[in-house]
């Protein structure tokens, strides 16, 4: 009996705790649903089919860039050039389409070249950070300056229009379903398939413990380069969406998106230190930023106060997300 009084049964983690541990994006999902509900209360039309289509159409690029950033963050790295890659691919595809004319073939050729450009940028980043062993923050800032220079070389000033075929498709419907929904569905399938490959797992292993991963025989340098390459490809996809949304080329269009993509990754429950996270969370994180922006507008914030309220709300969401996630994992 004495023994019983002293020995406490091993504490089993609570149900919710285990749940969040298995699905790190849950806090993000909850925050997103709450924001969606709040949007609906203040502006019922915002949760209609048209409203949701508009939201996805506008924030699809940020969702993709957040996904791009996630693969790099998985391995404990960071890519400050992600936005510059978006700018570069944006002007490259607009320039290619402008020279090949307005046709389906021209659009496909431009997209192929754009994907190649994104991939090349990603590989450059990977080599610089993983093979040359430079600090990711400063090295990708340097490459971002280089990529921005390239974008300015391709198109010195903003304003070249994208051909109608491109943006009509992006803003249009296929079989009565908005194109962006097809794109979102395709993205979901791709992310699901990628999550089942060894790529994601290897990146997470490197991020969790690079030395351990190396000692167990993983090609750490190659894996990190591959993470940056995936980032470049998804940044190119983000550039397609932004081109579809803005219907023009702008050599500086993506610059502001880099820091938002990092915020979205953190909002999604992924650890910046690497080794823990999900891409789905980053998609939710991007939507959280979009929903905060629209909610601030819908509640009638005076226009000059909107940026401040948005900034405060994102800061609160970042802090809350980290605190909830940590409590769940502690």
């Amino acid at each position: 009996m004495m023994v019983d009084a002293v020995a406490t049964p091993p504490r089993r983690p609570g149900g919710i705790k285990r749940f969040i541990e298995a699905y790190p994006f849950l806090p993000a999902l909850i925050i997103m649903l709450v924001l969606l509900a709040l949007n609906g209360i203040w502006q019922p039309r915002s949760v209609s089919l048209v409203g949701i289509t508009g939201l996805i159409k506008t924030y699809m690029a940020l969702m993709l860039l957040a996904v791009a950033q996630t693969y790099v963050v998985y391995a404990g790295d960071i890519d400050l050039s992600a936005g510059a890659i978006v700018s570069l691919v944006n002007v490259v595809i607009v320039a290619v389409m402008a020279s090949l004319g307005d046709s389906g073939v021209s659009v496909l050729a431009a997209m192929a070249i754009g994907l190649g450009a994104g991939l090349a940028c990603g590989i450059v980043n990977g080599i610089v950070v993983a093979a040359f062993r430079l600090q990711a923050i400063v090295a990708t800032f340097a490459t971002s300056i280089f990529f921005t220079g390239l974008a300015l070389w391709v198109m010195p000033v903003a304003g070249t229009p994208a051909p109608a075929t491109f943006w009509r498709t992006y803003g249009g419907r296929i079989l009565d379903v908005p194109f962006v929904f097809w794109a979102a569905a395709l993205l979901a399938v791709i992310l699901y398939l990628l999550a089942r490959t060894r790529h994601a797992l290897q990146l997470l292993a490197v991020g969790d413990d690079a030395q351990g991963a190396y000692q167990s025989g993983l090609p750490v340098t190659a894996i990190r380069i591959r993470g940056y390459a995936m980032c470049g490809v998804f940044a190119a996809l983000a550039a397609f969406c932004i081109t579809g949304d803005t219907a023009s080329g702008d050599p500086l269009v993506g610059g502001k998106m880099t820091l938002y993509s990092i915020a979205a990754v953190v909002l999604g429950g992924t650890a910046l230190a690497g080794g823990y996270g999900t891409v789905v969370g980053s998609v939710f994180g991007a939507l959280i930023i979009g929903l905060i922006n629209s909610l601030v507008y819908f509640v009638g914030t005076p226009s000059e106060w909107q940026n401040l309220v948005q900034g405060l709300a994102i800061l609160v969401a970042l802090v809350a997300g980290i605190l909830i996630g940590r409590r769940a994992r502690a």
Partner: protein, 318 residues
Amino acid sequence: MTRLVDTLKTPIIVALALIFLLLIVGEMLSPGFASPTQIMRLLIVAALLGIVAAGQNLVILGGREGIDLSVGGVVSLSAIIAGNLMNGQDAGIPLAILGCVATGALIGLINGVGVTLMRIPPLVMTLGMLGVLQGLLVVIRQGIPSGRAAPGLSQFVTQPFLLGLPGIIWLWVLIGLFLAFLLSRTVYGHRIYAIGSNEQAARMAGVPVAAIRISLFALSGVFAAIAGICLIGYSGSSFANVGEQYMLPSIIAVVFGGTSLAGGKGGYTGTMAGAMMLTVLQGILTTVNIDESGRQMIFGATLLLLMLFYGRGKAMRA
């Protein structure tokens, strides 16, 4: 002999050698680049970056992935506040300094509290703060004229003050001496290195880790605020987001100065050299007659090349 080679390989010597080399290259590309007046102009610009980098340097030295992305926002905010408080009058200078330094300290304090007490990663906390500051800038600018620098302040930043050098350069030298003394000769300085290199050990040894780290972020805010005041003295009036150009370059100056981003290793003297090197490089690129795209490509590629000289990570070993 080996000691001599080791000394020559220290980042500060490398940086000074590169500055000298860059000045020669600049003089060859456009004669007059290395003239005394030009060098003084470069020094003023370098001082602005260097003062921001002082705070960044302290935060990075403190370790635990210490970084301050909000410095650019603080510089912009401080420039606007200073402009409005002075409004072109010398009498407003003390109030402007007081107001800006207090604002910078408060922002840094909030960053520090978030990073230590709530254990938010510094990158995330200061990134969120940057968003808030950018919003605050929009609010402050509404309706109110963005303010003008007092003549006394402009004179301090741009006109010769002592031995032919403007006051801001002397201020920078003072900050350099102050930080060198602080980091190498005081308990506080040693504690910064202690928490930066091994936080757990420092805590066991009784170092008030949280208080020190909060003070580092507060100091970063103060230095950025001082740079903001000087910036409006340099440019006369402030425009939106003038500080953004300092955010990442301040980190690069620290890295070029030989301070490790991992914390606990480095110092400010190297950072001063790093800030000068970055400024001279940018100066060359603006004087050379090429278009913006080429300038950016060369700048990015040169930064990468220079980074190969500094703090490369160790190769993996089994």
